[in-house]
Amino acid sequence: MNSLFYGQGCNVNRRHFLSKLGWTSFWTAVVGMVAGLARSMYPNVLYEPSRKYKVGYPADFARDVVTPLPGEKLFIYNDSKQGFYAISGICTHLGCVVSKTQEGFFCPCHGSRFDHSGKVKAGPAPRPLPWYRVSLALDGQLVVDAGEEVKPGTTLPI
């Protein structure tokens, strides 16, 4: 024992050691408790609607027309050459909802502008509007998964 606490070059005696041990365990316990409390602030279950939307039958969408879906904050394209694709209606700047204009999209909050493919033309938006995965459900309806981004240009040919 003595050699451990009173060894060469070691000035820690038993009292110091026990004091350090005590404080270390105290602060460890405090940090653990605070972390536990903080963890309970982080929800495990979300009562949010699914971000996978069934948006209708392909035939419901007129050819070469953009269909805005305000509730889902999506724009559905039915391109006669490329097929279906969906562009997000949420501005990548600070989350306002963009509106459709002649040149593309426009955000009223801070004036970001995007072209038809969602690419940033002007304003503070840091990223283009994301494209989402479009697929067909078994009942033949189009499904847009707003949780899955795809590369711009990815379409669902019909």
Partner: protein, 504 residues
């Protein structure tokens, strides 16, 4: 039983004496005693320096801010009886307050305008403390505490105007939490934690409600307590050295002012430590029985001034609340933001900056501002100019020059940005960092830093350079706020005062 009857007869007098605990306040001893014995008054000193009572020195701004805080607690508690933090109930409850609850409208108006008033007054208080050099040692720590209080005030305002769940509330939470998401590293998680999910809804409302009524007010009260306690410990309000004792500056030679000099000290000044009447304090304090000309008893001089100031503040805000209604937009609509979607005036300077670059305006510049504000007392430490409005004639000139230059620079950058259409017009595939760098907001900050160093080297006075920098910050912040409030219309486009907005 005779004792019973005797005590019963003496009961009214004894109750009175045990409650009031002092007689008529005829002598200074009585006046000291009342400050000492009363729990609510003992936060104040027994005697105060004449300079502290000069309204033109302090402008009473700190006191007014505290009074507004008390008004906010009072009105806020009553509002809590009617408010329900649920997305389907919050807005109807606002309408109830407006049309059904007795004096409900007045209550809400008073709460809202006092909140706006508090933001303004706290900011002006900070300016007062800066321009009088009152952050100098030993008051550095209290300045930092004050900066914390300023941001707590902003936090309370922000969480407060989210609660009505109107259009302003919904889109302010959306924009505000998306700004948080730009924080490098932890931003996304922090946004998730604030919202209690990925979307703005019920969870977000209740979180901001708890922040507004429990966490932030309690924090503010604690920090406020520290702020007041530090004022006492730092020896009261700052004041110029000459005011320490006019007799000293008139009669004493430098040698006699040296405590260790051993020469005759008729009116010794500024010992490093001295007994105040109540406690051991650091720094220079009014010395009881040494410089009676300089101090006055807090009762009645300070107490009555504070009382009058409280009444005036309350009356002014009551009158405003009677004639002007607190804004309430339409019910929150998650599908369409308003156009323009504007925050309350005190955040529109930031919103203007954010409209150039979310990272710069929302994260970098605010962080830089907080750090710079907190560093002021640790950088600008010299004794000269403490306790006087502005430091010198030259400092005033530099402040004026900085105000003019900053105004010019901001207008120039703003119009350059609008005329040319910004970086993307020339360089459509520009990387984001270039847009973050080359915009009126970032360039203004860059200009201010350059101004500070040039002014510092030219004047060879840190105090004057920092007055120039602070003035530039003040003018820049005000100007961006004015632009955000008055000159931005639909689609965040620029409209002059006299230009009308196009019909939607």
């Amino acid at each position: 039983m005779q004792e019973f009857w005797r005590n019963a007869r003496a009961l009214p007098g004894n109750v009175w004496r045990s409650t009031i605990r002092h007689g008529p306040l005829d002598t200074d001893l009585d006046r000291a005693e009342v400050m000492n014995q009363n729990f609510f008054l003992h936060i104040l000193p027994v005697s105060v320096h004449r300079n502290t009572l000069r309204f033109s020195y302090s402008l009473g701004l700190g006191a007014i801010a505290f009074i507004l805080f008390l008004i906010l607690i009072g009105t806020g508690i009553i509002l809590m009886f009617y408010y329900v933090p649920a997305v389907d109930q919050a807005y109807p409850r606002m309408k109830d307050l407006e049309f059904v609850v007795s004096n409900g409208k007045l209550l809400r108006n008073l709460h809202r305008w006092a909140a706006h008033g508090m933001v303004a007054v706290v900011f002006l208080h900070m300016c007062r403390v800066f321009y009088t050099g009152s952050f100098r040692p030993p008051r550095e720590f209290n300045w930092v505490v004050g900066v914390v209080l300023f941001f707590l005030t902003l936090g309370l305002s922000f969480t407060g105007y989210l609660l009505p769940w109107d259009q302003l509330a919904f889109w302010a939470i959306t924009v505000g939490t998306n700004i948080v998401a730009y924080l490098p590293g932890v931003g996304k998680q922090l946004r998730f934690l604030l919202l209690g999910g990925n979307e703005v809804g019920q969870e977000a409302l209740i979180r901001f409600y708890v922040l507004h009524i429990a966490i932030l007010p309690v924090l503010a009260l604690i920090v406020l307590g520290v702020h007041f306690w530090r004022i006492r410990k730092d020896g009261g309000l700052s004041r110029p050295e000459e005011a320490e004792s006019p007799l000293v500056s008139m009669t004493a030679t430098p040698a006699s002012r040296d405590p260790a000099g051993g020469s005759l000290q008729i009116f010794p000044a500024d010992p490093r430590k001295t007994y105040g009447l109540m406690e051991l304090v650091k720094g220079r304090t009014p010395m009881v029985d040494r410089g009676p000309e300089d101090t006055l008893t807090a009762w009645p001089h300070l107490v009555f001034r504070l009382f009058t100031l409280s009444l005036l503040t309350l009356v002014i805000f009551l009158i405003v609340s009677l004639f002007f209604d607190a804004p309430l937009k339409e019910l929150a609509n998650p599908n369409f933001p308003e156009n323009p979607a504007k925050a309350p005036w005190y955040f529109l300077g930031l919103q203007e900056l954010v409209s150039y670059s979310a990272f710069m305006g929302g994260v970098f510049i605010p962080t830089l501002t907080v750090v710079a504000l907190m560093l002021i007392p640790y950088i600008d430490r010299g004794p000269a100019g403490t306790g006087v409005w502005f430091h010198s004639r030259r400092a005033r000139k530099i402040a004026l020059l900085s105000a003019i230059l900053t105004t010019a620079v901001i207008w120039l950058l703003l119009f350059a940005n609008m005329r040319t259409g910004g970086v993307r017009r020339f360089y459509p595939d520009s990387p984001q960092w270039l847009i973050d760098l080359l915009n009126p907001g970032t360039l203004t900050v860059l200009y201010l830093v350059v101004f500070f160093f040039i002014a510092g080297y030219l004047t060879d006075s840190l105090r004057e350079a920092s007055i120039g920098l602070f003035t530039g910050f003040l003018i820049g912040f005000t100007l961006f706020t004015v632009i955000g409030v008055f000159l931005r219309g639909p689609n965040w486009e620029f409209y002059w005062f006299w230009q009308s907005w196009p019909a939607p």
